[in-house]
Amino acid sequence: MSASLLYGDHIRLAAINAERDAEAIARWTHDSEYWRLLTSEPLRPQSQQRIKDDLEKENPKNDAYVFGIHTITDDRLIGFVALDDILWSHGHGWLGIGIGDPSARGKGYGTDAMRVILRYAFEELNLYRVSLNVFEYNQRALSVYLKVGFTEEGRMRNAIHRDGRWWDIVFFGILKPEWEINRG
């Protein structure tokens, strides 16, 4: 089982089940700390119904792969990870990750999930490059991205205004050959 493409050491990736998962995901959208790490959109709590409707939308562009992150020990949904805005002709996709369950943060689950989704991106989707960006105040995420092999590629200056000041958005990228070396 642990050798499976969708399994890490402590988490596994699974389909998001709109019926079962909407309650947890809707709850996360009420958490301003989570929201501010995740998106530059203003905080806007979402109802379960709204989440369910969004999850059930088709992806006619075939450019997104979204997974729930589950702990292996108790199969609890703790977050999500996604590859989206994929441009197949360039072999390029964007990665997004959120650990919605506050009790699951800081325990290495995100790092574990990052390793699984990168393997999925490079070995299953055959992408050549994965990009992501992060707000400069998200120190925990910055160190995770470096740890799993991403390279910082620049900063959009003053791209987000929060708590009365400007912050940069930091861009990261990883190429397939870098990932292969890093994996050892």
Binding site: L87, S89, E153, G154, M156, N158, A159, F171, L175
Partner: protein, 190 residues
């Protein structure tokens, strides 16, 4: 002042006519060089009907997308398009994209002037504080045009583009309102 908000010496920013202008844009998409200079997608000729559908699909969120045709003042002919989108109002930023469709209309300063008009619109009409633009490392003319207008290369996404059997960097350029103001003041003495 107000009257000249969207008007330059050579070009002005106008509306897009889904009938005639879609015909013109359709012709541009038949030149792969056009797509390679300005767009991320694979080159793909689009009919006027497909162009109209594309604009309809993109044009829904009224306050998040401002879309103009670029027209020559002397004969009102549409030579390009410019769009401000991905607008985030709380942080005051947007994304800018500009195309000049026919190769014969490139290299005359039309794009530079249209860019100046759009910057003035973004910073003084929409009151945004930052604009982002994406371009490819091989589009030297585009990079130069953006830098001349006050943009800085902020991010180099290594090898993000695969074209003509070669990988190229995707550049992210940014201009803050102050960058633009400094540039404009530099041009006008005093």
């Amino acid at each position: 002042m107000i009257e000249t908000l969207l008007e330059g010496k050579l070009v002005y920013l106008g509306s897009f006519d889904p009938e005639g202008d879609a015909e013109v844009e359709s012709v541009w998409t038949h030149d792969p060089e056009y797509t390679h200079l300005f767009l991320m997608e694979p080159a793909r000729p689009l009919s006027p009907g497909q162009i109209r559908k594309k604009h309809q699909a993109e044009g829904k969120a009224d306050q998040e997308r401002f879309f103009f045709s670029i027209r020559k003042r002397e004969d009102n002919r549409m030579i390009g398009l410019v769009v401000l989108d991905w607008i985030n109002w709380p942080s005051g930023y947007g994304r800018l994209a500009l195309v000049i469709g026919d190769p014969r209309d490139r290299g005359h300063g039309y794009g530079s002037e249209a860019l100046q008009l759009l910057l003035k619109y973004a910073f003084t009409e929409l009151n945004l504080s930052r604009l982002t633009a994406f371009t490819f490392e091989y589009n030297l003319v585009g990079i130069h045009m953006l830098e001349k207008a006050g943009f800085l290369i902020e991010v180099r996404q290594r090898q993000a583009i695969n074209r003509r059997n070669q990988r190229w960097d995707l550049l992210v350029l940014g201009a803050l309102k102050e960058d633009w103001q400094n540039m404009v003041q530099g041009v006008q003495p005093g």
